[in-house]
């Protein structure tokens, strides 16, 4: 990066340099995804559960247990990788669901205007005004906490945020000359939404979704903190942090490793989102 910075601004930059801001975080993110989903099959690791309880609390860098073991004697590296699977699955599913549902609702609402806009936004207001914690708790306790239930509950509550962002972007878009031109040409509404609105609001939504990746991984952890997320012994970064923090001062490494994994992954997604956003916005 430092090299790229030092180049004279006018000089045409080589392709690798122009693409680096996208490629590098994408590579890190891909590496994390690959490590989590392929690592457990490729590396000679112990399973994430069913460890020998007599090998509990081993420190990091113990031979055979690179990152040490947890109170039940499970290999932490294995748990971090398997935990990444759950955390990533939850985060991706929630954001994809939220983006699709919220994005289209918001764009529709902003495009329609008038009564339709009012009805959609007021319904979403009810959702925004309703503390998600109560519903997530109800879902977790009546259906039993599980990955699917967590995803559905979180996605449900991410819809209004996507919708509002998408609506705000659509509203601003409406003032653009090309929109007026499209409408004057008699282009049908769905076509305007698909051809003109969608490509223009997607960068904003994607930025938000990339931010959302980290946010959801963190929120999944928060749910675990309250005992409502993915249930141990099955690992997720969230529940590993939540469990480890119960003795944070004595066993900090139980928290540090999942935190690091979470951190690097979230950072990669954030940077990727940022780069994509500026690329799309024509910077």
């Amino acid at each position: 990066m430092a090299v790229a910075e030092a180049l004279p601004v006018q000089a045409p930059r080589p392709a690798w340099s122009r693409n680096l801001p996208i490629v590098l975080p994408a590579a890190v993110a891909a590496l994390m995804v690959a490590a989590c989903f392929l690592g457990p099959w490729v590396l000679p690791l112990a399973p994430p559960t069913g460890g020998n309880v007599l090998e509990s609390y081993l420190p990091s860098f113990t031979p055979g247990h690179l990152l040490g073991t947890d109170p039940n004697g499970n290999d932490i590296l294995s748990r971090v990788l398997h935990g990444g699977q759950s955390s990533l699955t939850v985060a991706v599913s929630v954001n994809v669901l939220g983006l699709l549902a919220g994005g289209s609702l918001g764009a529709l609402s902003g495009h329609l205007g008038g009564i339709g806009d009012t009805i959609i936004m007021r319904l979403l207001d009810v959702l925004i005004a309703f503390p998600s914690l109560v519903l997530i708790l109800a879902v977790a306790q009546s259906l039993g906490p599980s990955q699917t239930n967590t995803i559905l509950a979180l996605a449900f509550f991410s819809v209004p945020a996507f919708a509002r962002i998408s609506r705000a972007a659509t509203l601003r878009l409406r003032e653009q000359p090309f929109m007026a031109a499209a409408e004057l040409c008699g282009t049908p509404g769905w076509r305007i939404l698909l051809r003109h609105v969608a490509p223009n609001i997607i960068p904003q939504l994607t930025t938000f979704a990339m931010l959302g990746m980290g946010l959801i991984i963190v929120i999944e952890g928060a749910l675990s903190f309250l005992g409502l997320g993915i249930q141990p012994p099955a690992p997720s970064w969230g529940n590993m942090i939540a469990q480890g923090q119960q003795s944070l001062s004595a066993t900090p490494m139980l928290v540090v490793w999942p935190c690091l994994a979470l951190f690097v992954t979230v950072l990669a997604f954030n940077l990727l989102g940022e780069s994509l956003r500026s690329r799309w916005s024509g910077e």
């Binding site: 009012t118 503390p131 519903l135 509002r164 705000a168 940022e274």
Partner: protein, 335 residues
């Protein structure tokens, strides 16, 4: 702040009758929203297994003991009847008494709201107060060293879970340096200094992620405005100085995006306050809500949720109105 000063001349137009009518309409519309929220809450609470009686008596209670207490608490009546009774009283301003403690709910809400309100206000004050200048400085020279540093800090902050951050703050500032208390709340009435002192760490724990989020959002939006919008090009062509362009033109337009984000945040913040209040042992609304959910005290949950809904609806209404004030291109009256 800056925005408010800049828009004062416009206020006259906004307060003209169409806007007043808009406010009236939105306030009226808040009624079904609140009703919807309260029905939803009641229904959802009834989905959760276990009653207040069960939760109060614990794992050792026999079914007879539970039935007896349920009768005592009035839980033997059907749910719709209980809802209507609650609603009837709530309309007259009587939120009832807690099923668990027998204390009037309005008093409970007041006590806990004072704590959470102050915590939130401090967190917003800190996060916005820091995010706006940082984002402006960063956007002034995009990709300069300050911009990079601020992005680094904000992305870092966003990647740390708030419960980890809070514990880290406690470890560093309360345990190792002993400059702030680790837990507890000193009421404003007892000591103003002590009160602020006791809220510094929780407010930071809540505010730092917000600061990061706002900085990132505002900086991104400012840069967009500076690069993409015609009026900026026009302003620049007119020879207006870069700071004036940034402050008077770009910032005023970016502010409304920020306001949306702040408005949206209020909703997610209740979850964060629950956790922060838990870690710092603050007797706030989040703690009250969590406790009430755990004890199935639906009277208190209902009141918390409705209060929360009122605040959110009001905040959104305000955000929508400010939209109209700040972006000259969106005018509600003209729709």
């Amino acid at each position: 702040m800056t925005a408010a000063v800049a828009t004062r001349p416009r206020l006259a137009r906004v307060t003209s009758s169409p806007s007043l009518r808009l406010i009236g309409k939105r306030v009226l519309m808040a009624v079904p929203i609140l009703l919807g929220v309260s029905v939803l809450t009641f229904w959802v609470l009834n989905l959760i297994p276990g009653s207040a009686a069960q939760q109060l008596l614990g794992a050792e209670a026999t079914p007879e003991q539970i039935r007896a207490l349920e009768q005592q608490l009035g839980l033997d009546r059907p749910a719709p009847v209980r809802y209507l009774q609650w609603l009837g009283a709530a309309v007259t301003g009587d939120l009832g008494t807690s099923m668990v403690s027998g204390q009037p709910v309005t008093g409970l809400l007041g006590d806990h709201l004072a704590v959470s309100g102050e915590l939130l206000a401090l967190a917003f004050l800190f996060s916005l107060g820091a995010a706006v200048p940082v984002a402006l400085l960063a956007a002034f020279r995009p990709h300069g060293w300050f911009d990079r540093l601020s992005m680094l800090v904000s992305i870092t902050g966003l990647s740390v879970a708030n419960y980890v951050l809070a514990l880290l703050l406690v470890l560093v500032f309360a345990v190792n340096m002993a400059v702030f208390p680790a837990i507890g709340f000193i009421p404003l009435s007892e000591s103003v200094g002590g009160n602020l002192h006791s809220l510094v760490l929780p407010a930071l724990g809540l505010g730092i992620p917000l600061f990061c989020m706002y900085t990132r959002f505002l900086r991104g939006d400012l840069v967009d405005q500076l690069q993409g919008e015609d009026y900026i090009t026009t302003a620049r062509a007119k020879g207006i100085g870069p700071w004036r362009v940034l402050l008077l033109h770009a910032f005023r337009n970016s502010a409304f995006g920020l306001i949306t984000v702040v408005g949206l945040n209020l909703g997610t913040l209740i979850g964060a306050t629950v956790i922060i209040e838990q870690i710092f042992a603050l007797p706030g609304l989040g703690q009250l809500l969590l406790q009430a959910i755990n004890t199935r005290d639906y009277v208190v949950v209902q009141a918390c949720v409705v209060l929360f809904a009122v605040v959110t609806v009001a905040a959104n209404l305000l955000a929508d109105l400010l939209y109209a004030v700040l972006d000259p291109r969106i005018r509600y009256g003209s729709r």
